[in-house]
Each structure stands twice: as C-alpha cells, then as structure tokens.
C-alpha cells in the first residue's frame, strides 16, 4: 500500500484542514461536509461549506459527536445525487452508517468523496456540556494518548467508543487519514480509490511505502479495544441478559424515543412505535393491567427496544449516538453492540464495511440455516 506522508505543522487538526483547503483551491471539490464549531463555542454542527474561509471554524475530528454524520449526509443526498463534488469527512462509524444508509436508499454516494480517520472516540455529550472549554483540553489528551508510540486507552471517551474495534476501518472510503503511531508528527493520507490517487497527483503529494509505525499503532489499539469490548460485554451479560434483567434495564425508559431519532439507521420517517398501530382503546390498557394487577405506562417499553433491535441490529454500527442522548442514561449502545455482534456474526456481515455486500435480509441461499428449522 502506498501512502502520502505529510509533516504536521502546528497540529494535526490544522494540517488536515490546510489539506482540505488546498483541494478547494485546486477545485478538486466544490464543497466539504465537515463539523464546525457553533457560534456559542459549545458544540459542533455539520456544515456543508463551499466558502473556503468557513474552514477556519471547522474541525475534522471534533471532541463530540453531536449529530451522527451519516444523518447529515442523508439530509443532503436523500433527494438524489448532488450536482457538486462534495468531500465528506466523518468518523469511521459515521462512514459505516452512511454505507448502510446508501444500501437502504437513504444516501446517494455519487459525487461524494468519503474521508475517514483513525478515531480515538468522542467525549460523552453530558460531560462535554458541563464545561466545553475543559472538554477541548480533555480531548487533546485523548488524541495524545491515542497517537502515542505506545497508545494508552483514555477513560474520558464514551462507553461506546471505549469498546469500538472499528476505529480505523476504511474499506469503503476514498481516503483515510492515519494518525496512529505517529506521535502526532506525521499524518498519513491513505488512498483507497483511484479518485484519491488522482487527487494526490493533482496536489503533487509523493507516495511512500512506510506504514509500519502506523500499522503497529493500529494493532495495539485494536488489541486493547477488543479486550475491553469482550470484558464489557461479559459484564453486561450478567446484568442484562435474561428477560427479567432486560425488563429491569429498560424499566427506566421514559418513551421519549430519542434513541431512535438520533440513530442513523432508524431512518423511517415515522416509526411504527409512534404510529397509530400502538394507540389502543382504554379497555386494552385496562385488560392488560387487570391481568397483572399493575402495568407500567406506557406498556410495551420493552417491545419498543426489542423491536428496534430486531429492525436495525444487522445494520448497527455501534456509533453510540443512542446512549449519548438517552436522558435516562440507559446503556443502549452497549447492549446493542452485544446483540449486533452476534446477529451480524450470524450472517458473516459487518455493517457498513463494504458497499458491495448486500444487506443480509435482502439475500438468501437455498441451503442455509437449517439449524433454526425444527424437524
């Protein structure tokens, strides 16, 4: 594999941005979809930026994931392909969600150039909002620990990020930005498409074959994250597996359905669980109350979560948006990761890994899954 290695000037963030600026200068892209700091300085919002000067307020890797990037890309391309060449720079989980959404016809990838990066994770929204200024510093440390020659896990990232083992997956992107194992001195621009290579040529970037430091960093973080993932999932099993425990876990749920509305995969304009189908005459509720003596309202909290799980677990990319936004701090993302690993494993499918791989529920083979049939 050949990569372009760029020396970091000032910091990684600025170096990446100056690369992006150059692509606009050279008219390689018409616009860039990138997070920008909002006017109050307390969050980041996706902006489709055409004006180069806007990039001054942009962050290719913001400390938080306020809106899942795939949702932003879907908003731009749901109606069809854009007539501009757009570069979208997103975290790997956002890219994976975008790939899933494109399979679900919610994103049109034509004319979109996808860029991802080695992602250290994001800070929990709740922690961040308590003190955004401090959050910026905390996140700087997170990156430092991440790119270190001997990377160290950082406790300040979101639980979903701490167990993410696809922080550097880049199969479906055009360009991947490698920062691992570089001590923050270099940035590796790793091309994954001919288009990316053409852009390198246009920018006069020379290619280089030395990836060993980066690969070492990736392997080390992967080892740590996998270990953590196994450990967290093991612990979770003891608290959520089994019907009573599951009920208990979700009994805090207040039916706000924010987990669903921030989920990039839950793209339905109107969720079944908000539709008329779940609205019943009073006798229905009363009968159910009478059969148990007492029902919690609304009933079917667990149906909602299990239903959502069955609808999207095969495409769940483990981005953690649900858990980050849950007002009751239910461990939604961690629970979903447990389910997603197993259900995707069943079909040997990794959500969002490749655009060519069809959604498991859209294909079948004549001779398979006999083990689920009863004789």
């Amino acid at each position: 594999m050949k990569v372009a290695k760029i020396k970091v000037k000032d910091n990684i963030e600025k170096t990446v941005l100056s690369f992006l600026r150059e692509t606009i200068d050279k008219k390689l892209f018409d616009a860039i979809l990138i997070p920008m700091m909002v006017p109050a300085g307390d969050s980041y919002a996706w902006v489709l930026a055409q004006d180069k000067s806007l990039l001054d307020g942009a962050y290719y890797l913001p400390p938080i994931m306020s809106v899942q990037g795939a949702k932003a890309l879907s908003s731009v391309t749901k109606g069809g392909k854009v007539n501009k060449r757009v570069a979208a720079i997103m975290r790997p989980c956002e890219i994976r969600a975008a790939i899933e959404l494109s399979k679900l016809n919610q994103i049109e990838l034509e004319n979109i150039f996808l860029i991802s990066m080695d992602c250290p994770g994001a800070l929990p929204l709740k922690d961040w909002l308590k003190d955004p200024k401090r959050g910026v510093d905390v996140f700087k440390k997170v990156i430092q620990h991440f790119v270190d020659e001997e990377p160290k896990p950082d406790k300040s990232v979101r639980p979903a990020c701490a167990i993410c083992h696809r922080f550097s997956d880049s199969d479906a992107v055009d360009l991947h930005i490698g920062i691992l194992g570089t001590e923050g001195e270099d940035i590796l621009f790793i091309p994954h498409s001919t288009q990316a290579e053409a852009i390198f040529a246009e920018l006069g970037l020379s290619l280089n074959e030395n990836l060993s430091r980066w690969q070492k960093g990736v392997d080390e973080v992967l080892k740590q994250r996998k270990k953590k993932r196994a450990q967290v999932q093991e612990e979770l099993k003891s608290t959520v597996v089994g019907f009573d425990k599951l009920l208990d876990t979700f009994s805090n749920c207040i039916n706000c359905h924010i987990c669903q509305s921030v989920c990039p995969i839950c793209y339905c304009r109107q969720c079944y669980f908000d539709s008329d189908k779940v609205k019943h005459p009073p006798d229905d509720y009363l009968m159910r109350a009478e059969s148990k003596g007492n029902i919690s309202l609304l009933p079917d909290k667990i149906l909602f979560h299990l239903g959502r799980m069955s609808h999207m677990a095969l495409s769940c990319v483990g981005c953690g948006a649900c858990e980050d936004a849950c007002p009751m701090s239910i461990k939604v993302a961690q629970i979903f990761s447990l389910i997603a690993d197993r259900s995707q494993g069943l079909f040997n499918y990794i959500a969002g890994k490749s655009i060519e791989e069809p959604l498991p529920m859209r294909v079948y083979e004549d001779d398979e899954f006999h083990e689920v049939e009863s004789p």
Binding site: S75, K81, A289, E290, C326
Partner: protein, 369 residues
C-alpha cells in the same frame, strides 16, 4: 371554605389509603399513579387495578418521568373511559391533559383527578443516579415550611400554577406543618364527596389558600424573574437564538415529550422538511455554507409559535434535552407573553376555547397596518 377529609397518617400513606379504598369499594376501576419500579427508587406512571399492588405506589414522589397528561391522552385517545379511573397527577400535568382534551386528544369522562399543591419535582437526571430517595427528608422539611425547594427543577421553582385548577380532590402539601402525621384531602367536587362516603376519617372545613401558599407564590415569582433574567429571553434576538439553539442535536426529543405537541407526525419530521439537493445548492449560493441538517432555529421557533399558547411550563423538554438547552425557560417566557394577549391560562378551564380557535370581530387592530 371547602370540606376536607382528614386522615391521621402521613400525606402519602393517607393518599394511598384513599386509593385503596376507592379500588376495594369498586368506586374506581383502576388507579393511575406513580409507582416504584426498581430497587433503586425510580418510578414510572402505572395503571393499578389490584388494591394490593398499591403498596408500591408512590403518588407523591417528586419526579415527573413523563408528563401524565400525555399518558392520559394515550389512554383515552380512541375512546373515553367506560368506567372511572382515579388519576393522581400534578397541576401542570392536569392542565396539559385539559389542553389535549380541547384538541380532541382525550376525554375527561370518568376520570377522577386527584392532585396536590405541588412543591415541584427533581430533574430526571437525579433519578438516574438514584439520589432522590436520599433527598426526601430534606424535601419534606421544605414542603412543610413552604419553601422553594433547592435542587428541584428551575421550572418548578419558578412555577406559579402550583394549585390545581380542576382537580376533584387536592391533597394539601405546601406549608402543611404535619404532613408526616396528617393527610388532608380537599374535596372540590360533589363527585369527590360521594366517592369517599364510608371512608374512615374526619370531615372538616378549611381554606386551601393559606398564608404559606401565598408566600410561596411570591417567592416563586421572584425565582421566575431571576430565571428569565439569567437567560435574558427578551434580549436574545436572532443571534442569541442561534447561540442558544446552536448546540441542538436535532433529536426532537423536546417535541416528543411535550404534552402539547400531539401531532402524529411533526411537520419537521415530515417529507416537507426533507430537502432536495437543489435546495442545498441554492443555499450554498446564497450563504457559502449551510448547516446540515438545516432548520434548527426554524424548528424551535416553529414549535414556539405552535405550542406557546398552550404551554403549561411542565419542563419535560428541558429535562430530556441531551444538549442542555434551557428550552422550558424560553417556552415559559414566550408562553406567558402570548397567553397574556389572549388573557388565557392553558388548562385552567376545559370550557374555555383555545385562543387560536376563536376570535372577536373587534380586536388586535394594533397588529394591522
């Protein structure tokens, strides 16, 4: 003066006993109230038909996991109740339900509303950490003294409508010195008086509006003034709105938990607000850049114009907002100003039409040019 049923046990136990009596005597089919759901002390609204299950009921627990008005609407959206249900709700929840009934999203028929003089509730966040039970002794002391209770939600501290307008029964809490020994239930309607016939307890006559209640009202007004000052709602302007709503993550959780936002499909989740790429292209031409997804400020301003006339200031929006936007303060302020021009208190009286559904021929000439 109203007639009052006095039970010599704590307010919560007394209320539980009343509910038990109503269920056992089959005067109601079911009881709607907060109920303990977990060992850690979290509560959920529940529908209880078995009197024995009332032991888990925590009708006065200072938490609002959902606005009960929304739930009662869900119960009676399709049909009205065929048999009576006693519902223990907070004043703002009752007002929300009445606003929903005016919008044909529920029916008051066969409900018996039991409410309280409401001391306020703690933020949802606190229930996550399981801290509320520890707070209860302190809470009770403040209730007795008629204080503004520290650490309760800012919107509760600033709430003036803490006396229920249309409850059948009201449990007196605020400023009642011995709520740990006595439960005083005000019987506001004939229906209430009939329902408690045969129940042990003393019937007395007294006023609900005590000095303590009046004091608390003025203390809360002061709190409200401070709250508005803090956000400086009237000084926001467009740039202030962009700053305040800038961190919105677009989850629309505020509308999902808002009792007044009853639409099956919100306009902002509908196809009308899905953009064609060409819309983005024209925005880029105009501004050089565009927020994605767009319409953040439009969403909040739109919701303000749609719900402000009926906003009861229940505070659910702020409670669930993942971005900590002080929504309820802004909604309360705008709501109050809008309601003032129509001389309307949402949820006060079910007979009073929603201001936007009626008109006078000779009014508001000052807005014409």
């Amino acid at each position: 003066m109203s007639s009052v049923l006095k039970l010599s046990r704590s307010a919560e136990e007394g209320l539980r006993e009343l509910l038990k009596f109503l269920l056992e005597k089959k005067r109601v089919k079911a009881v709607f109230t907060l109920c303990k759901i977990k060992k850690n002390g979290t509560v959920s609204y529940s529908l209880i038909t078995d009197a024995d299950m009332l032991k888990d009921a925590l009708p006065l627990f200072p938490l609002m996991p959902q606005n009960a008005g929304k739930l009662l609407s869900r119960l009676t959206l399709k049909e009205h109740l065929a048999e009576p249900i006693a519902a223990v709700v907070r004043p703002c929840e009752l007002r929300a339900f009445i606003e929903l009934v005016k919008r044909e999203q529920g029916s008051l028929e066969n409900f018996i509303f039991i409410s309280t003089t409401c001391p306020g509730t703690y933020p949802l966040e606190m229930s996550v950490n399981g801290d509320i039970s520890k707070k209860l002794p302190e809470y009770e002391e403040d209730v007795k003294k008629g204080n503004v209770i520290s650490d309760t939600r800012p919107i509760c501290k600033a709430c003036e409508h803490f006396m229920p307008y249309s409850a059948d029964m009201t449990v007196a809490l605020i400023g009642e010195k011995d709520i740990d020994k006595n439960c005083e239930i005000f019987l506001n309607t004939e229906k209430a008086e009939k329902l408690i016939e045969g129940m042990d307890g003393e019937l007395v006559e007294r006023e609900l509006e005590t000095e303590e209640v009046k004091n608390l009202r003025s203390k809360r007004q002061e709190e409200k003034r401070k709250l508005f000052e803090e956000i400086n709602v009237e000084g926001l302007g467009l740039s202030g709105l962009v700053e305040t709503f800038g961190r919105c993550i677009g989850c629309h959780g505020c509308s999902r938990v808002c009792p007044i936002c009853y639409c099956v499909l919100c306009d902002f989740d509908s196809r009308d607000y899905e953009n064609e790429p060409s819309t983005y292209e024209s925005e880029l031409k105009k501004r050089g850049g565009v927020r994605v997804p767009p319409n953040t400020v439009l969403y909040h301003l739109g919701r303000l114009t749609h719900v402000s006339v009926s906003c009861v200031g229940c505070g659910m929006c702020t409670d669930v907002c993942p971005a900590d936007i002080p929504l309820s303060t802004i909604f309360l302020k705008v709501g109050e100003e809008v309601q003032k021009i129509f001389n309307y208190i949402p949820g006060k009286d079910v007979e009073e039409a929603i201001p936007l559904n009626k008109f006078e021929k000779d009014e508001f000439t000052e807005v014409e040019d």
